[in-house]
Symmetry: C2
Subunit: 314 residues, 2 copies
Amino acid sequence: MSILVVGSVAFDSIQTPSGSVDHCLGGAATHFALAASYFTDVRVIAVVGKDFTAEHESVFQRRGINIEGIEHADGLSFHWTGSYVKSLNEAQTLGTDLNVFQSFDPKIPESYKDSEYLFLANIDPVLQARVRSQMPKVKMVAGDTMNYWIADHAANLAKVLRELNVLLINDGEARMLAGENNLVLAANKVLTMGPKTLIVKHGEYGATAFFGEESFPEGVKAVHPFRAPALPLAEVVDPTGAGDSFAGGFYGYLASQPELTPTVFRTAMFYGGVMGSFAVERFGTERLQAVTREEIEARFKLFQEISHLDYTGA
Amino acid sequence: MSILVVGSVAFDSIQTPSGSVDHCLGGAATHFALAASYFTDVRVIAVVGKDFTAEHESVFQRRGINIEGIEHADGLSFHWTGSYVKSLNEAQTLGTDLNVFQSFDPKIPESYKDSEYLFLANIDPVLQARVRSQMPKVKMVAGDTMNYWIADHAANLAKVLRELNVLLINDGEARMLAGENNLVLAANKVLTMGPKTLIVKHGEYGATAFFGEESFPEGVKAVHPFRAPALPLAEVVDPTGAGDSFAGGFYGYLASQPELTPTVFRTAMFYGGVMGSFAVERFGTERLQAVTREEIEARFKLFQEISHLDYTGA
């Protein structure tokens, strides 16, 4: 089934210990869409400027991603400049040029209206809410946010949280949103704010899903949290978009399945980790543009091998 | 088979957000021995002072731990004062009174000499080496260390590292020891320093084992690292000794098995996580003194449930 994603399609200028790139195609919606495209149909809502050319369009088109909803505006695309030279675990933002994103008013093409899965990537919660309200019939809504919206746009964010089936954020964001340092208590508190399920991303340590009473349909309950591993990597070329790629792999797999069961959800988390691990192997979206289905399946098996016991009883 | 552990038997005064305790029984060898005692015979080498009474002896004896090698010296036992009020992830040391530990010269009773597994808990590497040299016939040697020995006693530590089958340290210690920030590269470098296998403990995120060419006997090779989860806990009463309890569960299980296979090693890591998760539920060693075999097995299954996919193919 189709996923509609709203978020940034942007250009990134990035420095990492492995090198640097200038104005490479990026943005949360881009990473998400490319990662999800290996599992299901994806449709993008975003705004770009004159610097977004046919060459950039073809990156989406080659992966079969529908970009009818990418609006072309006068001016330049959103441009982010960041460095991971000090730490690969945390981006140091050197510049944020919103450009055409500043006056972004998401419009949903008629052809997108039958999308059953909605993903609200990390943008202003006002825009997230505006898209959500235009898609009243979706089967599932997932979303991301960040410290900036948590700290300074709490009321707007609170409205979006109430609409979410799944919220995907990192450890620091979960603790900040809940105002609670213990991760389990923080997760329990976030689950009272609206999201039926919370996925907390731990970077190089994987991710944990915390389930609420309504995580699954028809009275199915997940008693325990679920922990998915990350792959220990000898080189992280560029961490940009790892979280969005995790979300794309996770949600793409979910949308490709006929029903939402605990096993489907857990498997989706593994695919999220798989797509995140590919994303960081090259600068920008290079790796996500060209990974093969065989590579994805081989890495999925590797994720199982590095974390599963072939042992059944004491 | 029997484990001989050398390390501190001490008293801890601890503050955490859950409360505080004064002079409770602790020390790396204590936590290790209690955790390992659920799996195999354990013998302890340590030194204590006059404040170590029959009541403290009975804590070991009730778990069947051999304390013939605990030397009683004049003076007071090693006493550590620490606080986790600022962060449960890192102890703030408020005081270290070495007391009788200052002139500790480990002596190994004859009855310990047939021990097949040796564990060198976190003490001066000079003492670790002295014990190692008195046990030339052991089948396996594992050990721990900390930032202080890595930074200021590098040459002495280097000698101990060359003797180890398994080194268990945390993320920060692995990075410090290797002088390398990427965990995989750090692990690869540590594996060139002597240890055949490296276990890196990630605290609330679990642990990762990195295997070398000689991790397993008879040409068995482990191609990939292995990641064991930690249990998300809503309350960590006292993190003191979590790493030693992990080591005890891990090594205790290993020593209880007839041969060292990749599956045995991986299972041992899960038992390590299990014992670590019990240790932090109460102050000091309270929980480790009284956990039941049934509780251990139930939690082992829980560790599998929170991390394993019941999914086999795409």
